[in-house]
Symmetry: none
Subunit: 380 residues, 2 copies
DNA sequence: GCGAAGATTGAATCAATGA
DNA sequence: TTCATTGATTCAATCTTCG
C-alpha cells in the first residue's frame, strides 16, 4: 500500500530528481558503514531517526562483583575511540547525513550516557537541530555500583530534536497522556532494562548484543512522535529493536548495521514480529504499591533538622537526628527502625510510627511527613 | 585555626608566591564578575565547586565575540553559531578558573537543563575533568507544559566530576546509602522544586530569584561529596542556597554574585542560618576508614588458637590456623585472603567475611573478632 | 610501580526445590 | 498441580588503597 503510493509519486518527478531520489529500501536492513549507507539515501525522505550510537565507554580493567563473579562489560571494538576528537568527528559525520535525510518536519532521537551524550547534544545544537526535550530513561533495575565508589548509574539520557528552530514535528500529546494514566507525559520515563524473553541470546546462551534496548522505550518514542506509515531510520540498528517496534506499530523502518551477527539476529527477530491490530495498541499500566520513603529525605527537605530530638511513642526514650538520616541515642546509632528496636529491646520496630517530634507541646508521629512526601510523589 | 595555618604557611613563601596565595575570603559573598573574582583566588585552594551557571544569557542586541568585536546582524546560521560560540567561550573561561582553584582531590558539580548542559558537559571533558556521574534531579512538582506541544520538562541534569582521570575525590558512600533506605544512592534524585517558606520573596511578594534551587538538593550534594570543614565555592551564588546549606552542615563557603539584589537577599538569609550540632553532622562512615587489623593479632590474643579449624562461608572448605597468623589448607598456605581466593578459584577474596569459626554449632565469621579489636582500639 | 589487603551488589528472571 | 521459597544468573561500568 505505502509502496504503491510512493512509486506513483516518483513517476511524477522530473529526470533530475529521479536520480537523486531512488526508492527507499523500506523494511530492510542495510549492511555496511552507516555514513556511507546514509549517503546513498535521498534528501528529505525520513520522518524519524532513532540513533543509539557507540557510547565510547573507556573502560579500563576487569570488574568483579562482591561475590567475585566477573562483570561482562562492553569491550567491543566498535565502542573504542582514541580521543574525544575522533569521537566528535564520527558524530559530526553521521549527524550531518542524518539531518540531510530528514524531511522538513522530521525529528531525531539519540540516546547516550554521560560518556557521550554531552558531545551528542552539543553537536546536535551546532548543526542547527532544535532540541525539543531531553528525556531520562530511569532504569527500574540498573546494575549496582559494585565498588561503592560512585552513585549507581541508574539512567540514560535521550535527546529529542526537530530539524531546526521553528520546524513542525509530530507529537501525539493525547496518546502519551493516555500512556501516563491521564496526566501529561513527563521527561523522565521509568522502564526496566531489557531482560528475560525479550533479550536475544546466541547459540551459547550469551547475550547476542551487549546493549539491547527495551521495546518499551521504542514503543513510547514511536507512539509519541510518529504517525502510522511514517518511515523510521535507525543507523545503528543492532539487533533491531527499532525495527521490531516499528513493525508492530505499523511504521516502516530502515536499519543500517555493519555487524553480520547482529543483522542475522535482527532478521530472525523481525520475521517473528506481528503488526498489532489497531485496537491492540492499548497499554497495560502496572499499579505500584506505595513508594518507599527514606527517613533521610525528611532531613534533606528540612521537615526535621539535624540535631533535632525525637521522642518515642511512650515518651520514655529520645534520640537525635543526624544529617544523613540516621538517629543517635545514648548508646546506639542507626536507622529509625534499628534505634527504636534497640531501645525497646524488641526484635524489630516500625520507626515511622514509633518516633515523634514535638510541635506546640504535642507529640506528632514522623509518619505524617512520610505521607506528605508520598502525596508529592503521586502528584509528580 | 585553619586561618592561622594558612598565614603561617604564607610567611614561609617567597615573595613571588605570596602574591598568588592570599588568605581565602571564607564565608563571604564577593561581588562582581565570577571569572575576575576567581582569578584573584589562589591555586588548589577549593575542595568543592557547585555551579549553576546562567543559560539565558541576554545576548540579543549587544552580541559580542570573545575578542569583544561586535557581531553584525547576520542570518540565522551565523546568529546561532555566534550565540553558541559566545556561550562556549564564557563556559570555557569560568571552568578554566574553576579547575585551577580546585585542590587535586577536589570536585565540581554543575547543573543545567537541555539548553546548556550539553555544552557544559562537553567543555568539562575537553578541559580534562573526569565525569563521575551525571545526576538527574527529578522534580516531583514541575511546571506543566501548558501548550501540550512537548513533554513536561520535569528534570534538570547535574554533572559531578573530579579534577582529572584517576584523581581521588570525596564520596560518603555510607551516608548516601543511609539517606536512601539502606540501598545505594542512585543517579536519579526525586526532590521538589523550591516553594513555600523556603522560596525567597522581595518586598513586592515576587520571587527574589527566578531559579532558586531547593536546599534539599544542596544537602544531598554536600553530605555526599564533602567533609565537614571543606571549602565550597559557588561562582553563581544567586540568593545563596549553597552557602546556606554549607553553613548548616559545617562547611565553609565562598560565594560570587554580581547582582546586588541577590547578594542582599543572600546576606539576610545567611544571617538567619544556624549550624547544626557537630554530632548531628557526623555521618555513617565506611569500613575503609577503619584501622587495619592483622589476622595474626587474633591468634596473639587467644581469640583463635593455632591448630584451630576455620570453615569457608559455604561450608565446603576448611583450613587450619597457624601461629604466625597464616592459614594452611590441603594444598595451599598463606594469608586468610590468599587461601580463600585459591580455594574458590577467585581473583581475590576478603578473608574476614569468608572464614568462619564454630561456636556452639554455629558458624561465626572471624570478622566479629576484628570488630572487637577495633572497638578496643577506639576505647583505648 | 607492584603486590597484597580487603571492600563491595539491586532488581528481575528463571530454574530447582519443597510444601 | 499449584504456590511459595531459594539459589543462580545477569544487567552500556569510565568502580580501591596502602605500603
Amino acid at each position: 500500500m505505502a509502496e504503491a503510493g510512493r512509486t506513483e509519486r516518483q513517476t511524477m518527478k522530473t529526470k533530475e530528481t529521479v536520480r537523486a531520489a531512488p526508492a527507499l529500501p523500506l523494511n530492510t536492513i542495510l549492511d555496511g558503514d552507516c555514513v556511507e549507507r546514509m549517503r546513498a539515501l535521498p534528501d528529505a525522505s525520513i520522518d524519524l531517526i532513532f540513533a543509539d550510537p557507540p557510547y565510547n565507554l573507556q573502560l579500563k580493567g576487569e570488574l568483579h562483583r562482591p561475590d567475585n563473579s566477573r562483570v561482562d562489560a562492553v569491550d567491543d571494538a566498535w565502542d573504542r575511540f582514541d580521543t574525544f576528537a575522533t569521537y566528535d568527528a564520527f558524530t559530526k559525520a553521521w549527524l550531518t547525513e542524518a539531518r540531510r535525510l530528514l524531511k522538513p518536519h522530521g525529528a531525531i532521537w539519540v540516546i547516550g550516557s554521560y560518556h557521550n551524550v554531552f558531545r551528542l547534544g552539543a553537536e546536535l545544537q551546532n548543526q542547527g537541530f532544535w532540541i525539543l526535550n531531553d528525556v531520562v530513561w530511569r532504569k527500574s533495575n540498573p546494575m549496582p555500583n559494585f565498588r561503592g565508589k560512585r552513585l549507581t548509574n541508574a539512567h540514560e539520557t535521550l535527546i529529542w530534536a526537530s530539524k531546526e528552530e521553528g520546524a513542525k514535528y509530530t507529537f501525539n500529546y493525547e496518546a502519551l497522556k493516555a500512556l501516563n494514566e491521564g496526566v501529561q507525559m513527563r521527561s523522565d520515563w521509568v522502564i526496566p532494562i531489557c531482560t528475560g524473553h525479550e533479550r536475544l541470546k546466541d547459540e551459547a546462551g550469551d547475550k547476542a548484543h551487549p546493549t539491547q534496548k527495551p521495546e518499551a522505550l521504542l514503543h513510547r518514542v514511536l507512539v509519541g512522535t510518529t504517525k502510522p506509515g511514517d518511515v523510521v531510520l535507525d543507523p545503528f540498528f543492532g539487533t533491531g529493536t527499532t525495527g521490531a517496534v516499528a513493525k508492530m506499530l505499523g511504521r516502516d523502518f530502515i536499519g543500517i548495521e555493519r555487524e553480520a551477527s547482529y543483522r542475522a539476529h535482527a532478521e530472525k527477530r523481525l520475521a517473528r514480529v506481528r503488526r498489532f491490530d489497531s485496537d491492540a495498541l492499548e497499554v497495560t499500566t502496572s499499579k505500584r504499591g506505595e513508594p518507599r520513603v527514606a527517613f533521610g529525605v525528611l532531613v534533606e527537605r528540612g521537615m526535621l533538622r539535624p540535631g533535632e530530638e525525637l521522642w518515642s511513642l511512650n515518651g520514655r526514650h529520645k534520640a537525635k537526628v543526624r544529617a544523613d538520616g540516621t538517629l543517635v541515642a545514648q548508646d546506639v546509632k542507626g536507622s529509625i527502625h534499628q534505634v527504636g528496636a534497640h531501645l525497646e529491646g524488641a526484635p524489630s520496630c516500625n520507626g515511622w510510627t514509633y518516633w515523634h517530634f514535638r510541635r506546640e507541646g504535642q507529640r506528632v508521629p514522623i509518619d505524617v511527613f512520610r505521607q506528605q512526601i508520598r502525596a508529592e510523589m503521586r502528584a509528580g
